[in-house]
Each structure stands twice: as C-alpha cells, then as structure tokens.
Symmetry: C2
C-alpha cells in the first residue's frame, strides 16, 4: 500500500486496512469511543484522532506499524494513560492514530528461582505485583497509579515512585525487552540475564524513550526477595538540613534496608489532615518539617524494629529529630504512608497549584528549597509552597498552592513564569527539571533549550536512525 | 587539515600535528615505547601503530579527535589495558593511533552526602575505591585487575566482578558521563542525579560501547554505605543443584545483604591448593562442589554473623550443605576469597586452557553445566572441566584444562570447535556468550552471527549516527 496521508487524517481505505488487522471489534472509530483516549488526567492536553486500535498480540502490533510506515500514518502508543506530560495524547491535527496495549495484559511466565517474570507490555502494574507476591517475591515498583498504569508505559517513561531509593527506577528492574520497531520489525530482546555484555545497550535506549523509538510489547522484569520485616516512622524536624543529616545517618546505618525516606512540610500535613478523610497527624506536637522513614529487612521483623529504634535514638541524641512516632501496627504503617501519598491530592481543594517535578543532588536539597522559596516569594509573596517528596533520591515535587482567596485562573496563568524561576534554581544546582514524569509534550521545548546542543543533536540522530519516516509518537520528547 | 590517510599509516605531517596537541613528551613514536600498547595480557591479539598520545585533559582529547576526524585517522582509546577481548589493541595494518587516558587519573571531587564522586576516565579503580574509603563509603566495583584497570575502561566494558550480585555492574554504579565524541565535540553529561528522565539514555549507550562511540573522559560514580558487618563461609556441596537451592535460600534470607555467592568445582580447589602458594582447602572433607557465601550488613557485625549461622543451620537441616567453614577472622575471610580469585591463574600450570565467559538465567545453571560437560566430553573424553564463577548472577567462567599429558598446542587448536559446542548449550538456555568481558575483536563475528539480524542492524545505525567517519575504535564490537 502506498497511500500517502500527508498532513491530513488517514483516509477511509487506510482506516479499513488497519481495522482488518485487529478486527472491527478492536478498532474504535466513533467520537464517543475515542474520546477517553484524547485527553489526560489533569486535562492539560487534548488531541484528536479518528482511530484507536487494540491489538491482541505482538504480531498484530507489528502489522499495524508496518502498515503505518507504508502509509506514513503517525502512531501514538497508549498504555495505562496515567502519564502527566502529555506523552500519550495525540496531536491536535487529527493525523495520529492510537495503538492501545490494553488487550495485551498477560503475565506470560514467572520463574521464582531466576527471580524474573515475563509480561506483556499492557500488563497492569498491580497485576504484576500480585504475580510476584504469588511466588513469595516482590516486584518493587510502586506508584499512586499502580491499579491502572501498565508496564509498557512504566518502561517507556522509566517510572520511579516511592521505592526507588532501595530498588531503583524501572530501568533497574528490567532485564530484557520485546519491541516492535517503527517498520514493524520485531526485536526479540527478552533476555533474562543478570550479566550480558554483548553490544550496544538497546534496552536502555527504548526505556525512557516514551514510545518515540518503538512500541514495547513485552518485558523481562526482575523480582526481589520479599522483606520479612518492616518498620515505618514519622518524625518531626526543624529544617531540611536536619532531614538531610537524618537521611545520611539512616543510609549509613541501614544501607539497602532503607527503603523509603520522604520529606514533607507542615503545610502539606495541614492540607492532608484537612482534606483527606481519615488522615490524622501522628504527632501531637507541631513541626516545620517531617520525615517518613521506611526500613525493610530481609531476615526478620526484629531487625527492622531494632534498626529503627537505634536510628531514632541516635537522631534524638544528635538533636536532629524533635519528636517521632513509630508505627505500632501494619495499619499504622499504611496510615503514615497514606498521609504522604495523599499530599498531592490534598492540594486540590486549596485552589490552583503550579507543579514542578525536579531533582538535584541529594546534598543540595536544603539549598535548593531555600533558594527556590525565595525566588517564588519574590514573585508572589503569599504563594503557599508545598514541597515534598523523595529526599533520598533528591527528587522534590515542588508544588505551589495559590495564595488564600486568590483567583485560580490568574494564578495558573503564571505557570510558565513560576516555572522559569524555579527551574533556574534547579539548573544552578545541576539538577533536572524532569526527574520522574518524563518529557512528553510538556517539557520538550524547555529541555531542548536547557540541555547541551550536542545532546539534542545526538537524540535527533538516534530518532532518525530508529524511525526514519518519523511515525512513532511524533512531537514527543524531541521536536 | 584535509590530508587523507586512506589505508596507510598516518603520514609524518599528521603525526606532527597530533604531537603538537599533547607535547612531544606525551607522544610516543618509537617502536620500543609503543610496544607495550600493541598486545594484551593473554597474548591473543597483537596490532601495529606508529603513535601513542597521552593527553592531559578533556580539551586535549577533544583536539585529538577533531584532528582525527579531519584527517580520517582511526583512534583506539586505551585505558588500563587489562581487557580480555582485544578491544584495546590496534589493528594489524598500522593505521590506528592510540589515545591513552593514563595521565587523566584524578579523582576530581568527592561528595559524601550525595554519595557521589567525579573522576577522570583514567583514574585507577583502586584509587577510586580508596577515595571512597577515605570518606567512609564503599565504591563496590571489585575486580582482579583493580590495581591497574581504569574507570574509563571499566565503563566502556560495563565491568562486572565479584560484587555484582548486590551492587550491580558498572552501569548501575554510574550516574553521569563526560564523553568526547568522534568529531571532538564534548558531551558534558556529568549529572549527579539519582532521578533524571529528560530524554534518551545516552549514558547507557556509551557504557558498554567499548570506545566505539566516543571516549569517556570523566564520570560521576555512586558510592554506597560501608558495610559494618561481614561474614564469609565456604561450604562443601554435592551438586550444582544443591548450590542453586542454597543460593535461593541465601537470597531470600539475606536479601541485599547477600554480597557474594560463588560456585567452585573440586578440580578448581585442587588446582588452586596445588599451585597457589599459601592457599589451603578450608575443609578437611572432600566434596564435588563448593560455594563461597559472602554476607555484608550495614548495621553491625552481629547481624552478619547471625544471618550466616541461621542460613547454614537451615541448609544443613535441608541436606543442602555437607560441611562448611565460617571464617573466624578477617584474614580467613580474605583467604577464602583468595582461593576463589586464584582459580583462573591456578589453571596455567596445568597446561592449555580453553575459556568461556558465559551467562544463563540463574535457574538454568545446573542444566547448563550438565549439558555443556556432556558436549565437551563427547569431543574430548579426558578434558578437565573447571567451571566456576558467579552463580548468583548466572555467570560461569566455563574453563577447560587440557587432558593430563596432552599436547598444549594441539589442545588449544581446538578452541573454536570447543567454543561451538559450549555456546550451543548457552544459546539453548537463552544465555549470553559474552557475559562480562565484552565483545572486542574476540566475539564480534560470533555475536553478529548469533544475535537477531535487526539487533546488529540497529547497532550499525547507532554507530553510523555517532561516528559517521568510522574513526572510533574501528573493527571492535561491530564490523
């Protein structure tokens, strides 16, 4: 087939040919059916498309991309649609068709001795976690959206979450990939090897490429031993400096048993206890900052218990912690985490919120916070800064709630202006303005402007080498 | 400058221009000075060259590669020259010049709070380990050649070693890179961030590319907390199956505290105790197989002690271990490891040895050993198989010593024939014939023949995108 679609939506012959690959029941063509695929959770992006395809196999994905290459039809791969940067949303001109992995949701194989499992690109994260649990293992990736996000998207965006400190990002949890290339060719890189130095690292190139180099249809994932012991504490602190010193002590004392270290400001605890049903402040005293400390041990519950008590005793003596609560039950452990995990949602009832997903070297977090706060307050003296996140990874969700009583639209209109001053501080500390959510549409141009020109040039050459006809998720990651 | 060198050695004007960049004292041009750079440890490869350049800075490396691009001069980057696959040896036609990082050997910066250090590409691994130790941290990469190998080469080959089980390969220990591209352009990717999802993963593409895409002149390396407790045991076992079951128990019980799990055959212990001065078998009883178990804990020596005793008790009860010795001192811990680490060297006095650096999924190690032994013995009934290695990573050094009294040259002449049958078993178990030593010249063509064609094609396109004039370490990794 050689029907050129140029800059218009695919014509009906092309749509028919695509439909034939998956069968009419798995090709959505009406506005009503397609609508849910055209937007994203926060409503920041809205696109248009005339076709959503739901292939059932790698071979069908291959046939779709082969036809897309031949007809010059741009394809947006769609996974769980929980992304926050517009990577899964088609462009507004209606040319893009969507390829959803939702029917490819199997856990193909679990090998508990080798500690690996092989899953489809459309497998839901929570199902993958359960499959590991069924063989007494842990698949450590843990995200707020784990009930609906899918592994293909987790890989395409190199997802992070709350367990990165001990177990790494998605990149560290993947041994091999199956990828359908833009031409329709299938790369079977489903290796389950812990060591394999046999050429260029294609796997890590597809991971984090946000579907611009190919479609991830399968993956070999690592499992780890299930921790036997766990303890969680919530500590009141005077400052980010105290939190950093406490983190350092915890890391040295607990090593890889330190599975979480989160920083939260007082205002975040106030928002959360005010707006999220059932959330209470575990401490009766009030503190400017809080740390959530999670320790998991492989041998026994007693070790986790002893480590946590030892750490907090030392921290009290050193004057780093002013008050602390250790969870007395599994339910309390969950409650401490629930407070932290609700912090983003708790900002909504407080009005507009301008958000940043940034990282800096761990040692720079206190300076970053101090300088960013000063810069934001210089712009908006009454802005309410609610900066929280994964201190142990240097990854801060630097969120700013509107001043009390301010006009939401007027506040949100200053998004870019606020971004600019916060990101300037990030750059000063050699940080990243895109720590874990990815690039998508949201950060494409700002990243291109801030990274070294040669880096964008190398990325462009890679894109050209993998996708010479430019049909894979165009407009995302690089322009 | 536009002097084409075509297929001949660089002419004298070109040599002068290169020499000017580093100064005459740092440009080697006599046969005697150059000779050490033309061969490798095992004597498998020997090349020719008329120039070795020793730049002192990233800027000098940049000037060299710019001139090399302009004059079409092929460049072989040289690091510690400890590689085992001929990646650092120039070709035999004498066209290649050598770029040695030996003068760029500084530890540029150490940040103990962020747990990172920045080092030159030519920094010696042992110096990097010491710099971490000086701030009470661990840089975990550990190799036999650590006294002379250099970080640039460790990165270019994604080095492994004995601590991969808990800490990962070099890839997992690096946060950022500084690379000089074949054009002479400098990519400053010296990021010290634990989380950064801001585009294609260039870092992991340079890591493991064996100097064919650019020269790694600097790196940001991760440090980890120094373990406070450590215990090492040496256990006698009936079979690789028992070793695998023991590994599984150890992994579940110790989690990331299991920092080493090595498998050794009786013949390897015999070779080592026979030929390596001071090495003794820690057990008085004789067993077909042995496991070396290393446990490191972050909190205290008592925890490591308790973990090891608990593990061995359970293993005895389950009938997995027939006898075991727990190191009673640091000296004994070192002695147990010395036995394992001498096993390769101990084969030399036994005559010729045909070697394989392979990996299979951990669960397949026993079947691999059984089938590979059968295949080798079918070819050579009296061959003495000495297969040992990193069971926990599925990485076996499958070495074969010549039959007693056989002719060494006649035995070695069968290298490829033996490789073929062993590698066939590796492929049957979805393994890798290049687990940790890399590709270089040694495995280039065999890998190209055994991997999917599309994978070699993608690698070629990447090479073309990064090095269009083909000057970077030509002939290595891909043809």
């Amino acid at each position: 087939m050689t029907i050129a679609t140029l800059s218009s939506a695919p014509i009906s012959e092309v749509i028919s040919a695509f439909t034939e690959i998956v069968g009419p029941a798995n090709a959505l063509t009406t506005d009503g059916d397609i609508a849910p695929y055209l937007t994203e959770n926060r409503g920041l992006y809205h696109g248009r498309s005339s076709l959503v395809l739901k292939p059932a196999s790698t071979q069908e994905v291959s046939a779709i991309l082969k036809l897309a290459s031949e007809t010059g039809t741009p394809v947006v791969p769609v996974s769980g649609r929980t992304g926050l940067v517009g990577g899964q949303v088609p462009r507004e001109d209606g040319r893009d068709i969507l390829l959803s992995l939702e029917r490819m949701n199997r856990v193909r194989e679990v090998d508990a001795v080798a500690d690996v499992m092989i899953v489809d690109g459309g497998a839901i994260l929570a199902d993958v976690q359960k499959a590991a649990e069924a063989v007494d293992r842990l698949f450590p990736l843990s995200l707020g959206s784990e009930g609906s996000c899918r592994i293909g998207g987790n890989l395409a965006t190199n997802a992070g979450g709350t367990a990165v400190l001990a177990y790494g990002n998605m990149r560290q949890l993947c041994l091999g990939l199956e990828v359908v290339l833009p031409t329709g060719e299938i790369w079977d890189g489903l290796r389950r090897l812990k060591k394999d130095n046999s050429g260029y690292d294609l796997r890590d190139l597809f991971i984090g490429a946000e579907g611009t180099l190919g479609v991830i249809t399968g993956a070999v994932l690592k499992m780890v031993p299930r921790p036997r012991g766990r303890q969680v504490a919530y500590a009141g602190l005077a400052s980010p400096d105290a939190a950093l010193a406490l983190f350092d002590k915890a890391a040295q004392r607990c090593g890889s048993a330190l599975t979480g270290f989160e920083l939260m400001p007082r205002i975040g605890v106030e928002f959360t206890t005010r707006h999220i049903p059932g959330v209470r402040d575990p401490l009766t005293s009030v503190h400017p900052w809080y740390a959530l400390i999670d320790i998991s041990t492989s041998d026994s519950a007693e070790t986790a218990e002893a480590m946590m008590h030892g750490l907090l005793e030392e921290a009290f003596e050193a004057g780093l912690v002013d008050d602390a609560a250790i969870a007395a039950s599994l339910a309390q452990q969950d409650a401490f985490w629930h407070l932290r995990e609700s912090m983003s949602e708790a900002q909504k009832p407080e009005g507009g919120s301008i958000k940043h997903d940034v990282s800096v070297p761990v040692s720079r977090v206190p300076s970053f916070l101090q300088e960013a706060d000063a810069a934001v307050h210089a712009l908006m003296p009454d802005a309410r800064i609610c900066a929280f996140g994964h201190l142990g990874d240097g990854n801060i969700h630097y969120n700013i709630s509107q001043p009390v009583g301010a006009d939401k639209a007027a506040f949100i209109a200053r998004w870019r202006e606020v971004n600019a001053v916060v990101h300037a501080v990030v750059h000063r500390h050699q940080g990243s303005i895109s720590a874990e959510h990815g690039v998508g549409q949201l950060k494409r141009d700002e990243l291109a402007a801030s990274r070294p020109a040669i880096e964008t040039e190398l990325m462009r050459r890679i894109k050209q080498a993998f996708d010479p006809s430019g049909i894979m998720n165009p407009g995302k990651v690089i322009g």
